[in-house]
Every structure is written in structure tokens, then in C-alpha cells.
Amino acid sequence: MTAYLAHYLVMVGIYAILAVSLNLLIGYSGIFSLAHAAIYGIGAYASALVALKLGLGFWGGLVVAAGVGAFASALVAIPSLRVAGDYYVVASFGLQVVVLAVFMNWTDLTNGHAGLPGIPRPNVFGWVIDEPFEYVFLSVAFAALTYAVCWRLTNSAFGRVLQAIRDDEIAAQAMGKNVVQVKIVVASISSALGAMAGSLYAHYITYINPSSFALHESIFIASLVILGGSERLAGPIVGAFVLLAIPEALKFLAIPDTVAAPLRQVIYGALLVAFMLLRPEGLLGRARTQARDGR
């Protein structure tokens, strides 16, 4: 039972990192990305490969993962964020598809569908973390670090520029802010943090394959943000606690696996639609001013 609870908490920590970092884009900059699972996967694959092929440890993997994640995101952000926000949704959707194709088809590097087994457990200053409850500390520590980084960022002058862009891009531009540059920077920071979550996941599960980083995973991470409440930094964390509990609850019902997986997605989809209709600000959100003329 303790091991079970520990596993739940580790996963909540990992998803909290993903959701809080994605919220930098969705909630604080008004950029909707559907590629966060791809970034998460890039982090996982980068640190797994670094560990397996180069023999670099946990910290090396983490740094490489964050770097590769930020680079991949900037590669898409630079062309697409120069134009309107709607393009970014499609571009990020595309990034998600392409990255998954790379995981599945570049078999020399990623081993395709079979995935990469035997990723070593992290060694933190001589302490090998191999028990689930030990991993809870690591996962929660990184979630706290992510939260602190995002808190610092959103409460700085840079954070206020972000919110100005979200609320009125033209006005921010008129104030002399370099809107495109700010957006690209925030997309890179968000991706570096998301890729770190991938690194934690790879070293925790010790085995990765492409199916953990597919489009439905991106939508799931976005759901954590939306349902938790994107107006507050803590909203996505609440989202992670609640939504990760749903599959655990479903396990108590005797449903065959072939139905349980789509059923989970049906529940997430229905929750998204219901929240948009009834409580668009999410569980922990405050309502943003809804009235905008001409809509």
C-alpha cells in the first residue's frame, strides 16, 4: 500500500512539473501548445540515451534533456510565434506528430516501438535512489523547484510583460516590448522544465517507449492545466492530484483493459467539455473578465 501511494505521489510530482511548466504558456502567455508530451518524451529519450550510450549520470542527463527540449521547442516557436497564435496550435500539433514519428521510426537511435530498457536509477551525490518512497523526495523536490522558477518568473517584470501580451498583444507591442522574443523565451523555458520531467520519468520507470508520449498525453497535460485552473500557479498541481486519481479509482471497477483505456479518455474529454460550459476558469481559478465586445 505504501509503495502504491508512493508511486501515485511520484507521478503527481512528475505531472505537476509538466502542468506547471505548460501553464507558463497556456495561462500566463495565452499560447496553446499541444506538444508538451513530445517535449516530455524528448527529455526522457535524451537522458535515457545519454545514460545508456554515453554513461553520463542523472545530472548530466537532466542538463542535456533540458537543453534538447528547449532547442526543439525554439525550432518550432521561432517560425510559428512570429505569426498569429492559431498557427502555433497547429505547429505544436505538428511537432507532436513529428517527434512521435522520430521515436517510432528512427530505430537505430530509439529502438522504435520496443523502446529503451535498462535506464539506471539516479545517483544523487552518492545516494542511489531505487525505492519508490525515496523517489517521492526527488520528484517532489523537482516539482517544488519548477514551482519556484515559475513563481519567480511570473512575479518579475518579465512575467508582467507576459501577461500584458496575453491580454493585449498590440498594446504590449506599442509599449515597445519585443513580443516575439518574449514568447520564444517563455516557450523555451517551459520546454526545458517539461523535458526535465521526462528525464525524471525515464530514470524512475527505467524503461521508455513511444506510447507514453503520444498526442493523448499532450491533451492530458493540457487538461491538468485547464481543469486545475490556469489563472493560478497552483491550479495545475490540483489538476494533477485530481486527474491522476481517476485511473486509480477506475482500477477498483472490474473493467477489461481494452475498455478501461478509452473510457479514461472519454472521462477526460467529457470533463473538458463540461468544465468549459460550466466552470471555464477551472477548479482553482478566478474568472477572467469574460465580456469582450464583438464576440
Binding site: A91, G94, V97, V98, L263, M276
Partner: protein, 239 residues
Amino acid sequence: MLGLPLALAVAGAIVAAAGSGMLIDRFIYQPLERRGALRTTLFIASLGLLILIENLLAIVFKPDPLRLDVGRLADAVQIGPVFLTWLHLVSVATAAFAYLGLMAFLKYSRWGQAMRAVSSSPEMARTVGIDLRRVHLLTYAVGSAISAPAGILVAMDVGADPYRGTTYVLLASVAVIMGGIGSIPGALLGALFLALLENLGVWKIASEWQSTISFGAFLIFIVLRPRGIFGRKIQSAEI
């Protein structure tokens, strides 16, 4: 499953698609629009619907592909040096028919003209007495109805499976943006370009990389010509 004739099945598919489009608009999008919901809210609701419907289909029909038996349509035809199946020709004819039909509808029919009016200026359209809600409902009905033949052709060609839709949503959005949002000839050209690119690409590169080719082209394209082939210049403030 029911063994009904093909013509009836096609009609049923179109009616079902138009009907579900209208239901979604009436009970989800319109209430949101009335409340003045943000654009993102609408987008998230549509994303929720996508995974909800996709996975409901997976539960009801099981995840394996369902294939429509096409009988003689699968036979090959030779036109000059090119080998095709009848199904390929039917696909091209269907696309041409849908395209011309839609253009004629938008240009000559009262409702089509109303749609264009709403698209160019909702306020002006309201002033001259166009019922925005009904135009919206009709737009969803028409848009959904046109997607049904595409679905049937896919079911005939490679089989229908619940999760296939997402790839087509991506490719269709890419085609629309490439063509220029709001331009139907643009969307057609965008689609032609993507299809050509993917199939010429497969000549040299393994077919698993098809989506990568389209997407790479898309990124290059939006750098060079963000407004699309025929589009007006789009600013985020307008959207």
C-alpha cells in the same frame, strides 16, 4: 453490419455527420458563444469533444479498423502509363463534386451568401437582418456533411478506425492555413500540394516519414508566406 445498399449508407453517413455537427453547435458552441467565451475556451471544448467522440467510437466499435467492401471499385484501370483503381477516380470525382457544389452554394444560394456576409462582417450581417445563430448552425451542418464523403472514402481505401481522425485534422488544418484561412480554392490547392508532396516524398523516403514531410513544409511555408496562398493578412488581434 446491416447489409444496406451503399447509396443508403452514404446518405446515412452524410445525415449523421450533419446532424452531429448541428447538435454540437447547438448545445456546446452556441451556449459558449452566447456567454462571450474566450476563443481558447471554444478550442478546448472542441479538443474535449475530439477525444470524447474518438474514444466512445473505440469502445463501441472496438479499436480494429472496419473496412468497407468496395467490390469492383478495387479493380485497376490504366490511363496511359498510369495505373489507378476505380476507387481513386471516384475519390477525385467526389472531391471535385464537393468543391464545385460548395462554391456554387456559397455564391448563388441565399444561405451561402448569408454565410459569406457573416464571415466578412458579423456586425453588418446582423444589421441587415441575418440570423447569426442559424447561419452558424447551417455552417456546422454543411462543414460536417462535406466531411462525411471523405470519411467514407477512407473507410473504403484503408479502413475506418476510431483514432484515424486526428491525423486528418492536422493535415486539413495545415492545408487550410497554407491555402489561406477563409479561401476555399486555397484549401483545395493546399490539399493538392500536401498530397503531392507526401506522395513524391514516399518515392525517396520511407512512408513512415510522410507526416514529417508535410509538417516540415508547413513550417517553411509559414515563414515565407504566413497569410497562405490566397489569404488576407492575419493578425492575432483580429482573431
